[in-house]
Point group: C2
Chain length 475, copies 2
């Protein structure tokens, strides 16, 4: 048996309840409701296996390991993980640029892909000039489908549901993962990917899907379009939303808007193309609500090892304290990875959730990456925090843009936002000033506000761009 | 075992070589290279099974059978098939309108779909007002994938190929079928569905796919766009084209243009949403060329029974004579169907092909449906024939539109067509007159010609609409 086959065998060994969920609440209680020391033993075995596989087959990682003074047997457990240097996204970027088109970090060889290939995926943030793309195999497909099934089951998706997937099927990992997971679960899919909004509304009315998959931005847009046609999203067949691509389900005010619009629970599906291709994070049916309206995100620890580190020193921070997320992937043939800096700000809890799962949770979810932190007048903000403050204002609509400029040595912030469809257009100036005062109260900085009529700002069907930091260009 | 399970078991019983091709030339020689009497025995058994399954579970077909005086055991073999009345597309349309949203023709019950669902598909010709959609199950998914693999293998797709799929992943059967077939074969897929042409060109250059899946219209467009960027499709990594959605691969002049443009063989993948969801017809690697440049299309007779009938009487016409195609589907859980009028004009041969396959072939392919026949000045034309005559003219470009009007009791035909990118724009009038004369020669009717510069006419990425019969509106 080759080292590759050994690795795949090891991954398969720790699969339980392949085809159908073991209980109504938890797909694989033998994994998800495991006491921590047993979970740790699984992780240890898989960490050791992944390390060996990477040592043997990944030029990039072999070099990284050797430079850190590690030998072929240096990492045998989760305890040894901190000896492995973290990997930053830019390192992969450079690796792919130096060794086009795939780079050398993946242990998958081109001939393996050609032998057992599934698909090519790209990061959604990729510009046309430099696509960053990744190969995956049919083994990965099966594993993604099963892990995705576990997450969707946790969110409350059940036999008898019908899903409508409103993503454009391109090279995005998240939605291929969910598509195959739905296939695995036997949940029928209506692929709204190639359809326009009008046709998607028609599909919802005619075929009565119960689960809607899309970005949070699109969930708002689609619901409002239905309202404009005199239809009620709340009275539609949709009972659950599975959202990905943006942190909307973790932004309390956005979450609340979407849930009120649809009369349905919004669930978060969280991953990343580089290391967490099938859902690494997901909100469970139980949804522990924090006081601030945030919901915990579950991690799938038998598949991924999460660590929370200080962003300066990359030393661990204790559970309950905030740091950046670093993740190891323990189930992929093409992309098993040790200690990739996903970089989202999180604080962990390892208390069991009332849903019965024992794996770690991100307290209040994941709200954005540490390298997306934006400094305005010396204060640091995550885009999701700005979004939450803005969307908390009842009088304003769903769309906004935030422009930050630097004028006369001062940061200036201009929020252009739509009025709520029902709101009065009278005395806009007074409304703008009132909103500006309220934002000063919640954010602590002065924000100039410009209100525009509903429907003025552009809509997006995939990831929305709402924050425009125009300072670099002027300096 | 329920009658449904019995039917699925029977279908599974006649599967050979599930995972991998048995030979370099033929995926399942135990089916595809079978002597006719053995093939007939398989068909007989499956026809009897499909009849029973429909009798028990399809309200629409049960009524149809009873009205024809048939009993539960009346159809036990291919020989009995002519006793079953044919089904026209309009009958299903009415059935779905009367019994929304699915109609009663499918033996699949909604609870079966919810239990083992895969996807919903729609016809591409569907207008937004009345979608005609169909449910399929995970059993169907597996069968489609395997039948599709057999067809792609026949076209010459092999391990080691990489496919780029340039269809918008919506609710189209053909391309979901091909996508899952590629998965089944272990051929990696680059999903260009959600990407624009620029990005697809970048994908081709960067990741070097060898098989291009798209409509014939898009194959022309994509290649020309590459040329406009100073790139050569002929020198690209693409070595095979798999085209569907339009009869381009069966239109000699279109076929030739595409093959010259790409320096690659174009293969036809032929099916229809109602009865032939996975490829019913496909061109083999060997490609028997008829004198007129046409290529035979293979049928998959263990999965489908083709009949060629007189379009007026629906009586059989002998092999070698032209009639309309009527098809029975013998492998689907959701849509096994007896005697559906697909309606394409074909003439059959049952001689073995030099590729070794013994199943029936459509001589020179399928060039269009009998209800698309268009009468101009008393003569009947298939749109594909008009296309062939137009594209045979070397001086003209890839795009054209044909408008037929009725003025002063006479049909008038105006062909607006692009000049070839390299052609001179001088003395257009003389060029137009010359082209008009040539078309009179090949079509036998007068066609007014208007030449426009390259790039003037709209491009399409899916099925092209080039024929505009404006006569009804004026009468």
């Amino acid at each position: 048996m080759s080292d590759r086959e050994q690795w795949c065998e090891l991954v398969r060994k720790h699969v339980h309840d392949w085809n159908t969920p073991a209980t109504a609440k938890i797909w694989s209680p033998a994994l998800e409701a495991l006491p921590r020391e047993q979970l740790r033993r699984i992780q240890d075995e898989k960490v050791a296996g992944a390390y060996t596989y990477l040592w043997n087959r990944s030029t990039f990682y072999r070099q990284k390991f050797e430079q850190a003074g590690l030998g072929p047997d240096s990492v045998r457990s989760v305890e040894d993980l901190p000896r492995v240097p973290v990997t930053l996204r830019d390192e992969w970027l450079v690796d792919q640029q130096k060794n086009p088109p795939w780079g050398t970090f993946s242990p998958l060889r081109q001939e393996d892909w050609l032998e057992r290939g599934w698909m090519m995926f790209s990061t959604s943030g990729t510009t046309a000039a430099h696509p960053r793309s990744f190969r995956h195999t049919n083994f990965d497909r099966e594993m993604w489908a099963w892990h995705g099934s576990r997450a969707l089951h946790a969110m409350g998706v059940r036999r008898g549901d019908i899903a409508i997937n409103c993503f454009s099927y391109g090279t995005s990992v998240a939605f291929w993962g969910l598509h195959y997971a739905l296939n695995h679960m036997g949940i029928p899919v209506i692929s709204g990917g190639g359809a326009n909004t009008e046709r998607r509304i028609l599909f919802i009315e005619t075929y009565k899907p119960t689960v809607l998959l899309c970005t949070p931005s699109y969930a708002l847009y689609l619901g409002r379009q239905m309202q404009e046609q005199g239809k009620s999203p709340k009275d539609s067949s949709i009972r659950l939303l599975v959202c990905a691509g943006e942190p909307g389900a973790c932004v309390p005010a956005t979450k609340q808007r979407i849930e009120e619009l649809w009369g349905a629970r919004i669930n978060d599906d969280f991953g990343c193309t580089e290391v967490a291709m099938s859902p690494f994070g997901y909100t469970c049916e139980y949804q522990v609500n924090r006081e601030d309206g945030r919901v915990d995100t579950h991690f799938m620890e038998d598949a991924y090892v999460p660590e929370v580190l200080d962003p300066e020193t990359f030393k661990p921070v204790p559970d309950g304290q905030r740091g950046v997320l670093v993740v190891s992937n323990l189930f992929s043939e093409a992309q098993p990875i040790l200690r990739y800096v996903m970089g989202d700000w999180v604080s962990l809890t390892r208390e069991a959730c009332p849903c019965g799962r024992t794996h770690a949770r991100a307290i209040g979810g994941l709200a954005g990456r540490y390298d997306q932190l934006i400094k305005i007048r010396g204060l640091a903000f995550l885009p999701a925090l700005l979004e939450d403050s803005i969307r908390s204002q009842q009088e304003i609509g769903d769309e906004f843009k935030l422009e930050i400029t630097h004028v006369n040595d001062m940061d200036e912030i201009l929020l252009t936002t739509e009025l709520h469809p029902g709101a009065s257009m009278d005395d806009l100036e007074a409304q703008e000033q009132r909103l500006s005062r309220k934002l000063k109260g919640s954010l602590g900085i002065v924000v100039d506000v410009k209100l525009v009529p509903p429907g003025t700002l552009p809509r997006t069907e995939f990831k929305a761009k709402r924050l425009f930091d125009l300072r670099d260009r002027r300096q």
